[in-house]
């Protein structure tokens, strides 16, 4: 995953940046307003995870950025979010405090985001606040402050000590596990504050053991993330062939999760696929055809697309817009934002020819990138997603068939 290759700039012909918004939108199409606002409070991190899209992959633009979000940018950002919510009459918004590591920011900064935004929002808009952290700075005292500010906490951890420390170490190699384990034990005791766990897959880790280790912390939600990569910079263990090692890893966890007599936790990827095969709509930007309503506000006030795009090339998330000069609606007219809101219209011909595409939605957008052609490609994980979706559809189909037989 780590690349030392010099960053490459986007080619003008790469899809969708070479497109006019009018050329890629269907007649009568209307943009979906942003509902999820990722506010990056600190651009540095106290871990040096070797797969990190912020610091270790193609984009190195963080080096030129200020370390933390100044108060004047906090105020501008919250004003823009409130303006957007009011203009689009949004009943609920979600604000995710992010980084780098957001808990490197002073507690007063986190409280300022929450208090200024709550004050700026109209009475018809409810806001949910979450902080997504590596957990290493989450003490009992810090948790009390977050709770008082109305923040819930999501933690990134990859499994037990061995699994986690394959990648998630401090600079210099020290283990991060004891600190994150302590944080997760604290959160287990305060379920109202616990938003969930994000875990990046490593094929060397046993899938069921990893799931059960994380489940022991009793997260209300859990998601397994595929390591970032694309056709030009393939993920680890994902050669450009028909192999399905990631699919098989996920199927093992799915069967363990699905066969539990009660739902042990929400497992986001699986839940979205089950809902998808039953004809429902995805609520995750990771999979499915639902329009993506996420905007990122960086520490310097830049408006960006999801920053996992940094795994593709230098500057991939950029829109050229800032909270100082532009309303958030301006980002809704950016070709790359539109491309993630037009569903099947953004898919490659090979995806449209495949019966699974309403469920997978072409896979996660950053994983579709290929240098020279851009993002109109199947996912680099296409074979794995197909394997997983076929398996899940088969399991659900078997349950439905059993009901029909009992009825007959």
């Amino acid at each position: 995953m780590v690349t030392s290759a010099p960053p490459s700039l986007p080619l003008p012909s790469e899809w969708p940046l070479g497109e006019s918004p009018l050329d890629i939108t269907p007649a009568g199409w209307r943009p979906t307003p942003f509902h999820d606002f990722v506010v990056k409070l600190h651009s540095r991190c106290d871990l040096a995870c070797d797969y990190c899209y912020m610091y270790e992959l193609a984009d190195r633009s963080w080096r030129g950025r200020t370390a933390f979000m100044p108060d004047e940018v906090v105020d501008l950002a919250t004003r823009r979010i409130a303006e957007h919510a009011r203009d689009h009459r949004l009943s609920t918004i979600r604000v995710i405090l992010h980084g780098g590591e957001p808990l490197l920011a002073p507690p007063a900064t986190l409280q300022r985001v929450v208090s200024t935004l709550r004050a700026a929002l109209s009475s018809g808009t409810a806001a949910q606040f979450t902080v997504q952290t590596n957990g290493t700075r989450l003490t009992e005292q810090r948790l009390r402050l977050l709770s008082a500010a109305g923040l819930r906490v999501g933690v990134s951890v990859d499994g037990g000590r061995v699994a986690n420390d394959r990648h998630r170490r401090h600079l210099g190699g020290r283990s991060s596990f004891p600190a994150v384990d302590r944080a997760l034990r604290l959160l287990r005791e305060q379920p109202d504050l616990f938003a969930g766990i994000l875990s990046v897959i490593d094929l060397r880790n046993d899938p069921v053991e990893t799931y059960e280790t994380l489940l022991a912390y009793q997260p209300p939600a859990l998601d397994f993330l595929l390591p970032h990569g694309n056709w030009s910079e393939p993920p680890p263990g994902r050669p450009p062939d028909a192999s399905t090692r990631y699919g098989e890893w996920l199927v093992a966890v799915f069967d363990r999760w699905y066969d539990a007599p009660r739902r042990e936790t929400r497992l986001r990827l699986f839940e979205e696929i089950v809902v998808g095969v039953l004809g429902g709509h995805s609520r995750s930007e990771q999979i499915g055809l639902s329009p993506v309503g996420v905007i990122v506000i960086d520490v310097d006030g830049s408006l960006e697309q999801v920053d996992t795009l940094r795994s593709a090339y230098e500057g991939a998330p950029a829109t050229g817009l800032t909270v100082a000069d532009h309303p958030l609606d301006a980002a809704l007219r950016h070709p790359a934002v539109i491309a993630r809101q037009i569903g099947a219209k953004a898919l490659a011909p090979a995806c449209l020819d495949c019966s699974v595409h309403p469920v997978c939605g072409g896979g996660y957008y950053p994983h579709r990138y290929r240098k020279g052609s851009g993002f109109r490609n199947p996912s680099v994980y296409c074979a794995d997603l197909r394997y997983l979706i076929d398996h899940i559809a088969g399991r659900v189909q078997a349950d439905v068939a059993r009901v029909m037989r009992q009825r007959a």
Binding site: V38, R262, S284, S290, V306, A344, S355, V359, V400
Partner: protein, 56 residues
Amino acid sequence: MEPTVDDYLSHQLDVSKISLAELREARQGAFVHCLERILDELDRPQDPVAGFTSAI
């Protein structure tokens, strides 16, 4: 050519003629929660995106 509904059916299952009670008898756990979510969203459509892969 745009895909049609028929193209989707091979992976999307029609459970509209089965009651939730019957499905609950078939399987508890995660499956039922997913069905309940679909039914809930028929009455109260949710925002199209709740997830962000760097946050949960």
